[in-house]
Symmetry: C2
Subunit: 428 residues, 2 copies
Amino acid sequence: MSPVSAVPTDPTPPISPPISMPISMPARLLMGPGPITVDPRVLHAAATQMVGQFDPAMTAAMTEVMALYRTVFATENEQTFLVDGTSRAGIEAALVSLIEPGDDVLVVVFGRFGQLLVEIAGRCGARVHTVEVPWGEVVPVELVEEACRRVRPRLIAVVQGDTSTTMCQPLADLGELAHRYQALLYVDATASIGGNPFETDAWGIDVATAGLQKCLGGPSGSAPITLSPAAVAAIERRKRVEAGIRTADDDSAPPAGTPIASNYLDLAQIIDYWGPRRLNHHTEATTMLYAAREAARLLVAETLPAAIDRHRRHGEAMLAGVRGLGLGVFGDVAHKMTNVVAVEIPETLGSTGGDRVRAAMLTCFGIEIGTSFGPLAGRVWRIGTMGYNARQDAVLLTLAALEQVLRAEGVPVSAGGGVAAASEVYAG
Amino acid sequence: MSPVSAVPTDPTPPISPPISMPISMPARLLMGPGPITVDPRVLHAAATQMVGQFDPAMTAAMTEVMALYRTVFATENEQTFLVDGTSRAGIEAALVSLIEPGDDVLVVVFGRFGQLLVEIAGRCGARVHTVEVPWGEVVPVELVEEACRRVRPRLIAVVQGDTSTTMCQPLADLGELAHRYQALLYVDATASIGGNPFETDAWGIDVATAGLQKCLGGPSGSAPITLSPAAVAAIERRKRVEAGIRTADDDSAPPAGTPIASNYLDLAQIIDYWGPRRLNHHTEATTMLYAAREAARLLVAETLPAAIDRHRRHGEAMLAGVRGLGLGVFGDVAHKMTNVVAVEIPETLGSTGGDRVRAAMLTCFGIEIGTSFGPLAGRVWRIGTMGYNARQDAVLLTLAALEQVLRAEGVPVSAGGGVAAASEVYAG
């Protein structure tokens, strides 16, 4: 007999014990810039069993989702549905379907997510032009108009709320401006919608996309989108139904523009999947559709104005609270989103102190807060109050824990100052 | 006072009552070609609460998912992870990341999903060449080799199991063939993996993608993918980290190939999101990651050989059962996938009879079966036995219900012949 070896010789070792267990996640209160703790009712909906892709119950649920997101987006746009991917998939679906190679596109940039629009528009073949302001500011409409005069863009693309800086770009005048210059207006409303006023139709927005993981209180992985009739017309003229299901009718109407470069994110075909033609495209991500439906249903039941008020109230409480702890706040606070605040990391903490505080918040108190990107990495903490976590207990717990962690780090904080200042907002 | 009007004048009518209710779906037994009924344990996992995107518990779960899918794909490929979208997103991620515009790509076509690869490769800018056989057959390796000699493709793309025809393409020789001609081999294993032998490494497959909604018993919306070192090298040379998070180091290594046209489906960046760099890209679709983890965990616990045997057994029972009812089976049955059968719709039913039978199965018995695409639309029913529904009770219930529906339609069926024939398979 060969001796017993301590070294495993099996080339494919068995899966280690943790993987043999069902998923089990630690309890966390997610108070960063998103994703945030999901409303348990949304999780419950996500666990609903499947029906078939073209089951009457499924197509009815799809139609309900369209109606619900019309209310969320404040629009009467028929073409309002979900893109099956994260909010970034929604952005790319909009841009790759709208932008033809060589198009002039004007991107309004005031943070990392504006830069992302630059990036994606560039990959779509656009000639990208930007108007930019320093991080912490929003862009004056005059700058956008000046650029329109110069560039004559086919599309203006802008983020409403850029979580990297917490700024919320005023949009009310941009639709009219865009249309005066024969441009379409695209808005990424992922971080803001549901917690800040957003008016697709009243503001003349042609395409808006979102995600569930911010003020909508859902998980990442589904991207609601709405398209104005003008945007639909621009996209439909590029439509080419895919090989394998193209009919003679389709062949008789070849695309008038450059065909859309993506198949998965081809809005022309996705419109036909959600519409009466029920064109076979992807297999709908039903679990995420259930989640998206419930997130919107809860928001619509609460009403948008009430939800926005809720975000405003808890955002103000958090803002007062961090100031009550003696901390500074980054950026033009008058233009801050309701649902996130950028807190200046005290310089006394040193270059790694911001991360130490975040780690202590997570490890000792189970609370997640974020930092930011680029010039703000390690300079600010981003603290969110959104979706399911736009709640008094979540705000006060976060402030109470932050006070303890800062004190342990030697930062001078007023005892109880954060909770007291937030409570005053709630009392007022 | 104005008279009460029966016509609502509110331009934004309230949401109709059904939408004010949580989702409630009818009980269905999904015996079509997929999506299929999801294992309740997977639904339960999907309902797990969020943790943060870079929480140690989250990155640990991502690492577990990578290990689990290495077992599912039978590979040691480090780069094995999830694309956040449906199986089609996985296909496009693979093709848009591998194919540079102008590349010669050879697509092996034996059904609708081979045509989809043609479509997507074309949108990626490939010069697409095909080898095709009639629907119901698989492609002889000699034909592929002959095309390689002629075309000298950079990439060969093929579906393993094309549900449109139920055929399962033999792949064991294609990796060696591809590499002999300096091509990479891509396989779409969505419909087959977990229920049919699939050997990424042993068969020399460079990139394989899948979905959860077939033999893995999960919901649509997450696309597992695996990449060989050669495929990773081909993709990495095209890497361009996006604006907003690009560093000086990134700038010092500009892409050597054409940059990848998609941002969302850019595997070079997604690799860095799943890898040690933890590059910020999309926000992981955590709900779907939980589902993907559980689907793979259950499969790995069962073991792949046992799961494949299970699919083979229940597939044989269903095949025997439909023949026992006196129905014909479409295509080269020796090359059929284990998990789906294409049943010829009796001509006596007339042109709409196939749909009538499917509607009666769904309405009266709650059982979904499918039809097919293109030349097989209305000519066959596709009946699946896969994932959670590769079970004796599901097979026997389907056969019992089908017998009743066919009899009511006047089709001559042998009383009990379907269940008896299937039972014989189970007894043997």
